[in-house]
């Protein structure tokens, strides 16, 4: 072999290895430039076709003149070039296959026949000397190369030109579901269309597999070479149903494996249709409303239409650059769906809006089918502008500043379906402007339109659906929400700070009491200005208003900041789980939340709450307040007893006050309760408080006999 052929053969080996490797990896992950080079496949492929076929006569001539060295040389180089080009073509093909959306079965065959050709032509080179003496084998190889090539090319042709390009058969048409009228038969309504979609491609006038033609009812009745395919009234003995129900891998399963299969509903339809006599005259409308055949037909017809409900638009799409130009954060232009020419335009942010923003949209006026100007400050001048949008279907002007003066301009919008005017100043007069409009639905909630107006409108323009929306029932009274202090987190107040109550509904009266009694909605004290506080201020308040039911009471207890404590000593340790903020939490002026017991709280169960407080001031004290949690569901009870001792130092104490709180009689959850212990008035440097937790829960409680908890979040000294 000449030197250049040797080089080519080596390249060929490398390429073949690469080719075989490519067969088994996902080529879509290859770099872009490599994939792009796959596009040369349609160019290359013609060369191996010619060469492989050309090699056959060449071989014949070579055998005729077996001693012609030049001819032999030519044949040898032809084989090398053939293999090289075939391999390149196959590689390009594999690269191309990754990018396209091809029928997987055809591509599979094309791929392996193509690769087979490449391999075989390669093998042919090395078999050359081996077949010298075996002429027939040589022919066999050359001919099979041609055959494999032709088969492979056929599938390639199928990929580009589509199945049936070579055959003269009519193209398969999906069955059409006719519109239903009183004369539509059951057969026409669903049976025939399903047959047309799923069976007709093999059982038609031209192609009658198994001698069966299903083109119309008479032919269907006739059956195939094995006779009738159904027995009216008896689906169980009908071959048709039997074949449909066979296992997918069964050779006799219909439709055959690889074709579009019948859905469960479609099989049921055939079964029901045969069961009810399989006749061609029964009409759809004669079926009872709850007839299972009718339901089945509805179901199938619906599943057909679901995919097709998409509205199509006849106009051209606007150019993307034009849309991009108009799109801003305050004016969004979006297609209704992917590749739909129809556009929706929606405006955002009042303060950014100007009417010019809508005017600019005139360049896409053909394509806009939805405009949403809700809550934008547009006035009645907008209607003249809106009338230019010829395909407008949906217009939303809710909450805009229009009064509807030029509403009649919308008569020009010949496609307008829906008009939303809720929360605008339109009145009944301007709506007359819609008399000649094609609009179907108009929304009028929260406008000047009354129920009386509505009745007139319905009479005057009966083709329009007028929606007045929700009208409160005058007899239905709703309960107000209770009033709240302006800042529910501020429960501990400075001396001069006042309590501010508020209610979100304008015009509501707040009644309150400070003596622990429930305020009365009529005679109670009316809240007018912030309430000055005393050391402990319990505010019970409710909201009332004409036309509403008075609210439940809200009950808040406020504390004034007490005397400053220098330091705190925990004489008994709280439970490990409930002492997160330690002794600081008792004097940090932060109240605990009854729901979050491991924050700002100290919890005691094994020990009593026994704590010492040191003071450096010389101010008289007369009262101590222990703020404790109260929730029997969690075994948190009031302290059974509080004892307060005072003196100059921990070594010199006397009892200066005590309190025995009342115990709950049943389950309750009061959140946080203050326990006020009056003490002998005096100056104390040190005060020790001991609050005892209940040692045995009462008999009504699910934990009876067990120890209860005491939780303390803050202690105040006055």
């Amino acid at each position: 072999m000449s030197r250049h052929l040797t080089i080519l053969s080596n390249i060929l080996i490398v390429l073949q290895v690469f080719l075989l490797f490519m067969c088994f990896v996902d080529t879509t992950t290859f770099p872009e430039w490599l994939i792009t080079s796959g596009k040369l496949h349609p160019l290359f492929l013609h060369l191996p076709i010619a060469l492989v076929i050309f090699n056959l006569p060449l071989y014949y001539f070579l055998k005729l003149n077996s001693n012609n060295l030049k001819l032999e040389q030519l044949y040898k180089s032809s084989l090398v070039y053939t293999a090289l080009l075939t391999t390149l073509t196959a590689i390009a093909g594999l690269l191309l296959s990754g990018g396209g959306d091809y029928d997987p079965e055809t591509i599979f065959l094309h791929k392996w026949f193509g690769v087979g050709t490449a391999v075989l032509t390669h093998v042919q080179i090395y078999l050359f000397s081996w077949v010298e003496k075996r002429k027939r084998v040589g022919y066999a190889i050359a001919i099979s190369a041609v055959l494999i090539l032709v088969t492979g090319s056929h599938y390639g042709g199928t990929l580009t030109h589509g199945d049936g390009y070579l055959s003269i058969e009519p193209k398969e048409v999906a069955g059409k579901f006719p519109d239903l009228n009183t004369t539509t038969t059951v057969f026409d309504a669903a049976v025939a269309p399903v047959i047309a979609t799923k069976c007709l491609s093999c059982h038609n006038n031209n192609k009658m597999k198994g001698g069966l033609n299903m083109s119309d009812f008479q032919l269907l009745q006739k059956g195939g070479k094995n006779g009738a395919i159904f027995t009216a009234g008896n689906p169980d003995s009908s071959i048709m149903i039997e074949r449909m129900l066979l296992d997918m891998d069964d050779k006799k399963h219909m439709p055959p494996k690889g074709k579009f299969q019948l859905t469960e509903n479609e099989i049921l339809l055939f079964t029901k249709w045969i069961e009810t006599g399989a006749n061609a005259t029964k009409t759809y409308h004669s079926l009872d409303k709850s007839d299972s055949l009718k339901l089945m037909i509805d179901e199938i017809r619906k599943s057909q239409t679901i995919a097709k409900t998409e509205k199509t638009y006849a106009f051209q799409a606007a150019s993307q650059s034009k849309i991009d130009e108009l799109n801003t954060p305050f004016r969004r232009i979006l297609p209704l769906a992917y590749q739909s020419p129809a556009l929706s335009v929606k405006f955002y942010l009042k303060e950014k809006f100007s009417i010019a923003m809508l005017e600019e949209c005139k360049s896409i006026s053909t394509q806009v089918v939805e405009i949403n100007l809700s809550n934008m400050p547009v006035d009645d001048k907008v209607f003249a502008l809106l009338s230019k949008f010829e395909h407008l279907e949906k217009l939303n002007l809710n909450g805009s500043s229009i009064t509807g003066k030029n509403l009649n301009e919308l008569v020009k919008n010949k496609n307008l379906q829906q008009l939303s005017l809720a929360t605008t100043a339109v009145d009944v007069k301007v709506l007359d402007g819609l008399a000649k409009s094609v609009v179907r639905t108009v929304y009028l909630w929260n406008t000047k339109i009354t129920e009386q107006d509505l009745a007139n409108l319905k009479k005057k323009m009966p083709s329009i659906t007028w929606d007045l929306g929700y009208i409160p029932d005058k007899n239905e009274l709703l309960k107000l929400t209770p009033p709240k202090p302006i800042n529910t987190d501020r429960i501990i107040l400075r001396k001069e700070e006042k309590i501010i109550l508020k209610h979100p509904l304008p015009g509501v009266q707040i009644k309150y009491s400070l003596d622990g009694s429930k305020p009365d909605s009529l005679t109670g004290k009316t809240y007018q200005s912030p309430i000055p506080t005393s050391q402990i201020t319990r505010v019970i308040a409710l909201a009332s208003n004409n036309g509403w039911i008075s609210s439940d009471v809200s009950d808040y207890t406020f504390f004034q900041e007490g005397q400053k404590v220098d330091s705190v000593q925990l004489l008994n340790l709280p439970s490990e789980k409930y002492r997160k903020n330690g002794r600081r939490s008792l004097i940090d002026l932060k109240k605990g939340f009854p729901e979050i017991l491991n924050l700002n709280w100290l919890g005691y169960k094994e020990n009593t709450f026994k704590t010492g407080f040191y003071f450096s001031n010389n101010i008289e004290k007369s009262k101590i307040v222990v703020s404790a949690a109260d929730n029997t569901d969690f075994d948190i009870f009031p302290p059974s007893k509080i004892i307060v001792k005072g003196g100059d130092s921990p070594n010199n104490l006397k009892t200066i006050g005590s309190l025995v709180p009342e115990m709950p009689k049943g389950y309750r959850s009061n959140g946080v309760l203050p326990y006020i212990v009056p003490i002998q008035r005096g100056i104390y440097k040190y005060i020790e408080i001991e609050a005892f937790n209940i040692q045995s829960l009462p008999s009504w409680h699910f934990g009876k006999g067990l120890k209860g908890w005491v939780f303390v979040d803050e202690v105040f000294f006055y």
């Binding site: 599943s303 979006l334 939303s420 809720a422 909630w445 929606d467 929700y470 709703l478």
Partner: protein, 483 residues
Amino acid sequence: MDTQEKRFRLNVTRRHFLTKAGLGIGSAALGSMLFKDQLLGSTETSAIPLGVAQFAPKAKRIIYLFQNGAPSQLETFDYKPLLTKMHGEELPESIRKGQRLTGMTSNQESFPLVGSAFNFSQYGQSGAWVSELFPNMASIVDEMCIIKSMHTEAINHDPALTFFQTGAQQGNRPSMGAWMSYGLGSENSNLPSYTVLLSRGRGNGQGVYSKLWTNGFLDSVHQGVVFSSGEDPVLYLKNPEGHDKSSRRDMLDQLAQFNAQSFENFGDPEINTRIQQYEMSYRMQSAVPELTDLSKESDNTIKLYGPECLVPGTYAANCLLARKLSESGVRFVQLYHQGWDTHGNLASDMRMQAEDVDRASAGLIKDLKQRGLLDETLVIWGGEFGRTNYCQGKIDSENFGRDHHPKCFSLWMAGGGVKPGTVYGETDEFGYNITKDPVSVNDFHATVLHLMGINHEQLTYKHLGRRYRLTDVAGQIVNGIIA
């Protein structure tokens, strides 16, 4: 030889290095050229165009009123008179069929059936049964499509919730709202396309966690943004004291310049995301107050949702806010209302919960309708599973409850392309098993995506070497509920 020389000899020379490393580096280079994506993880994402509906959608936006804790279907929409008749009798094993139980009732010696704590009546033209708990929802049954045949795989709250929100029980996948944001993009670039609103009822509550609104492996812009329940739903939107809008603008412009510079230097796309997010929050400074200002609501609106709608953080306030957000183009507004976990005190807890949600849920539907928005907004109301037809705790006590039941439960949808005034699916007389048209959580997801104009099989994201979907490998569109 001294150590320095030894050390020197141990040094690899340039030639040495290149000879040794040439082959390895060469093959690595070749490999990275050929299989770049397999090495680096794929940037290829979805089989379908993103940021736009694949086909004409029936709904543009979703408001999901999640009833966290699982409201009992037997006290709400699934009327089972047999239970009342057989009150106290044992649940037949032929019905239970060894169904897995939670730890809370698996030790129970008997499973006495317990009738509904509330009376039922039929409403509307559809004649759907609704319990006395929901007088307002009952008034809109002709807008609703009640599915009585939902079922799920999980028997405890967290996995069930996670399954409902992300399509998987384990909690590493993107949530529904994130998939919507990823597939459909944002309508209004001044607001996040996926927002979450939380509220808490007075019943027995179960937690909600941020994994329920996670973006999972999707870009973090698709994550749900939680609006806090206080007076300021979005924190840090106000300008600091002493700074006005224009100085904020100047600051942002300067910052954007710096960021653009560092993008030039490093080319990290996250920098650009950050620039965009600053711009968006600047615009949110105007957009959010417009939405959250409740002072201008009309009396009619307040009566529609109930007076609680003026109290931030309540379910009613969240419903009103949800309507406003949705109206302003937020694709997916997710509400959670806690407190439906009625293992005990069922009757009193459910009454309190119903008081919180009934008026506002119905109000939301009516409000969307009267603004002409219901046809493009899909509203979903339901919990994560159902509750048992037998009693948890003592049957004769006032505070009996019902345990978790995954095999059937009810939810309803309204608006955006669902068939109004329908009841879909049936359960047996015991309210224990589904007898007709079961709808799995995956089916539910497939249907919701379909209504939004997305083929659930084609909205994919490649992660860890395979393509993921919200429905993963399951899900059938429920045609029976599509209008």
